[in-house]
């Protein structure tokens, strides 16, 4: 019942885009000249830059929060820094050895095995998505987020309480945990305030990163980071890459974006409100007919999570693709030209109203999206760097990752297509990790010993 209610505006929204793509001139009949004149181009770029900058910040903040959570935990809770011999299933080579060559071989082997799992799981997901098995995907995501929200959170809370020497009664802890988990499930898979949903996504990424840091053997972390970012590059950029296929299919099907697994800086939730305004205007829109599509669209605030370490998915995605570029073209120039014309006709007013809601919706929708996998691996890098009790390394990795993210978003503004967010950031981070640890920190220590500040 509820899902049907919430799916309706979504459906209309999607079809609204479809309609605009089909006949942009018809919808924005009043501003043909402005959208066709060459002067529109710099305007778009300007708007992009402005929004681009604020979007960078919208991603900086959650990434920083996630990293801060991980680093704080790494420095206060000893449980996550010491390995107790528990290993992930995907890293079979765990023998303790001092031989460097053997270590290198084992870490490369581990990374390749993990990569194989990631590839298999990604392909599996793509297959499910291709044949519209939305129920399986949703079940998968729900189970994994259930695990994270209840099981991993309870382990985390237990360890935090141990290390801060807090003792609460079992019923209190259960009460809080169950409420927390159920609220999280509602926010992620059904609906809830955007802030809350973002908070849950960040918290789950941080938990996942902590699990990675704890369970991966010492050197494997670095090879895994390297291999995963190379895979990210391949999966998003090659013509037959699975993630690229995923994004393109999602755009083809006019689903907002494949809603799971992605942190969205823009509003997903409010545009159910905005699109109810549109529902009266865009009546001609064909409503999505198959129940599967409804299933796919049903969750206004859906974003899933990686399933407990198996599959990793990350897509940096600007929602604005070509058809929305057209939309924006009209939307940007629309109000100004119609203001100049000042025709009080009823029809025109309706148009304006439409523009306004449209524009509003774009602003909501024009968020930058970052896969939760990116959050996880950024946090793994920074958290691992902080586990050696050298703050310089942590800070250097943090700045390097943020600058890498900036570069990625700059490239996003240039190429206007889905780009992998991991490679640049992780390569910067790795370079600065090793350089700081081996070269910069000795120099800086020397400086501080002499009391010299340069």
């Amino acid at each position: 019942m509820e899902t049907r209610i919430s799916s309706n505006p979504q459906g209309n929204e999607a079809s609204g885009i479809l309609r605009n793509r089909g006949s942009p001139q018809q919808v924005y009949g009043t501003n043909q000249e402005s959208s066709s004149s060459g002067g529109g181009e710099p305007q778009i770029e300007e708007a992009e830059l402005k929004y681009g900058a604020s979007h960078v910040i919208h991603l900086f903040v959650p990434v920083s929060i996630c990293m801060a959570m991980v680093v704080f935990t790494m420095n206060t809770v000893p449980f996550y820094t010491v390995s107790n011999g528990a290993q992930l299933l995907y890293t079979p080579f765990v023998k303790e050895t001092d031989n460097i060559g053997e270590k290198a071989l084992m870490s490369i082997g581990n990374a390749l095995v993990l990569l194989c799992f990631v590839v298999v799981m990604t392909v599996l997901l793509i297959m499910f998505y291709k044949y519209r098995c939305y129920k399986i995907i949703h079940g998968w995501l729900i189970i994994s987020s259930f695990l994270l929200l209840f099981l991993f959170t309870s382990v985390y809370v237990q360890e935090v309480m141990k290390s801060f020497n807090v003792s609460a009664s079992t019923p209190t802890v259960w009460f809080c945990l169950i409420n927390y988990g159920i609220l999280g499930m509602m926010c992620i898979h059904w609906k809830g305030p955007l802030m809350l949903q973002q908070f849950y996504l960040i918290a789950m990424s941080a938990l996942m990163a902590l699990v990675f840091i704890k369970c991966l053997p010492e050197w494997t972390v670095w090879t895994v980071l390297f291999v995963i970012s190379v895979w990210d590059l391949i999966a998003v950029l090659t013509p037959k890459g699975p993630l690229r296929y995923l994004v393109e299919t999602a755009q083809e099907r006019n689903e907002p974006i494949f809603p799971a697994l992605i942190y969205s800086s823009g509003m997903l939730y409010p545009y159910t409100l905005v699109t109810t305004v549109m529902a009266g205007v865009g009546e001609t829109s064909p409503s999505p007919n198959t129940s599967e599509t409804n299933q796919g669209n049903e969750t206004p605030s859906t974003s899933g999570l990686l399933k407990s370490g198996k599959k990793v998915k990350r897509i940096a995605q600007k929602v604005k693709n070509d058809n929305e570029m057209q939309q924006q073209n009209g939307g940007e120039a629309g109000p100004s030209t119609s203001r100049q014309q000042r025709q009080p006709a009823q029809n025109e007013q309706q148009h304006q109203q439409y523009h306004r809601s449209e524009q509003q919706m774009q602003q909501e929708e024009r968020g930058v999206k970052l896969g939760l996998g990116d959050f996880i691996f950024y946090s793994v890098l920074v958290g691992k760097a902080s586990s050696y009790y050298d703050w310089n390394t942590t800070i250097a990795c943090y700045v390097a990752i943020l600058i890498g993210l900036c570069f990625t978003l700059l490239l996003l503004a240039v190429f206007k297509r889905a780009l992998p967010a991991l490679p640049i950031s992780i390569f910067f981070g790795l370079i600065f990790y090793f350089c700081t640890r081996w070269i910069i920190t000795p120099f800086v220590t020397e400086l501080t010993l002499q009391g010299i500040l340069v």
Binding site: L49, W391, I439, I440, V444, T448, L453
Partner: protein, 224 residues
């Protein structure tokens, strides 16, 4: 107790930078990005200077190599400022191409380089200053919070300088010098960029930059 000391050290060191950040930087996304880019430039410069230090320490005996490394580090830092200025200049001309006359600028910090270039210098210099202060203090502050130590245990073991020169005021002196350093970086950036901006237009253009370089050397060598 140690934790409180560390927290107070951080507050002491970074409160001016924090105030400047909140007042002038936090409200504008472009400025935040420029701030982080400034810290990245400093990071790259310290990377190069420590590489040179590594090379020099293989060739020369310790004191000479160290002081030579400090000098090259200062030179590299100042040239990284110049490089940052050139980058922003290029970005600005690129932005001017796409910004029409009379329109509100896209990136106020970058486009109005002529109008508010000192503000730009402040933003970028603060990024450099904050990261250098962080690099030089974080490990020491972390050691302050340790069990029952004041000052740096490693310093007590290895250092050749008189460890008692600061005594129990070491944290205070340390925080104060880091505070000054972060503010100095702002000044140096503004001065160097002023020189860069006027270069070729005025005969005395080199003066501020030269002064910045001299004071940078003075700060480093007065410390030692």
């Amino acid at each position: 107790m140690g934790t409180l000391l560390t927290i107070s050290c951080y507050i002491f060191t970074f409160s001016p930078s924090f105030c400047i950040f909140c007042r002038f930087i936090a409200h504008d996304p472009v400025r935040i990005i420029l701030f982080f880019l400034g810290s990245f430039f400093w990071l790259v410069s310290i990377l190069f200077s420590s590489l040179i230090w590594l090379l020099l320490s293989q060739i020369l005996p310790k004191p000479q190599s160290f002081f030579l490394a400090i000098s090259t580090s200062i030179l590299i830092q100042e040239s990284s400022r110049i490089a940052y200025f050139l980058l922003l200049k290029a970005a600005q001309s690129g932005l001017n191409k796409i910004t029409k006359q009379g329109q509100i600028s896209v990136a106020p910090g970058v486009s109005d380089l002529q109008n508010s270039r000192h503000m730009l210098g402040l933003v970028c210099g603060l990024g450099m200053g904050v990261i250098s202060a962080l690099f030089l203090t974080m490990n020491a502050f972390a050691a302050f919070s340790g069990p029952g130590t004041i000052g740096m245990p490693e310093a007590l073991l290895k250092s050749t300088v008189d460890v008692n020169r600061a005594g129990k005021y070491l944290p205070a002196f340390y925080s104060a010098s880091a505070l000054l350093l972060s503010c100095f970086h702002v000044c140096w950036t503004i001065m160097i960029w002023d020189s860069c901006h006027r270069f070729g237009r005025m005969p005395t253009a080199y003066l501020p930059g030269f002064a910045a370089l001299i004071t940078h050397f003075a700060v480093a060598y007065l410390d030692s």
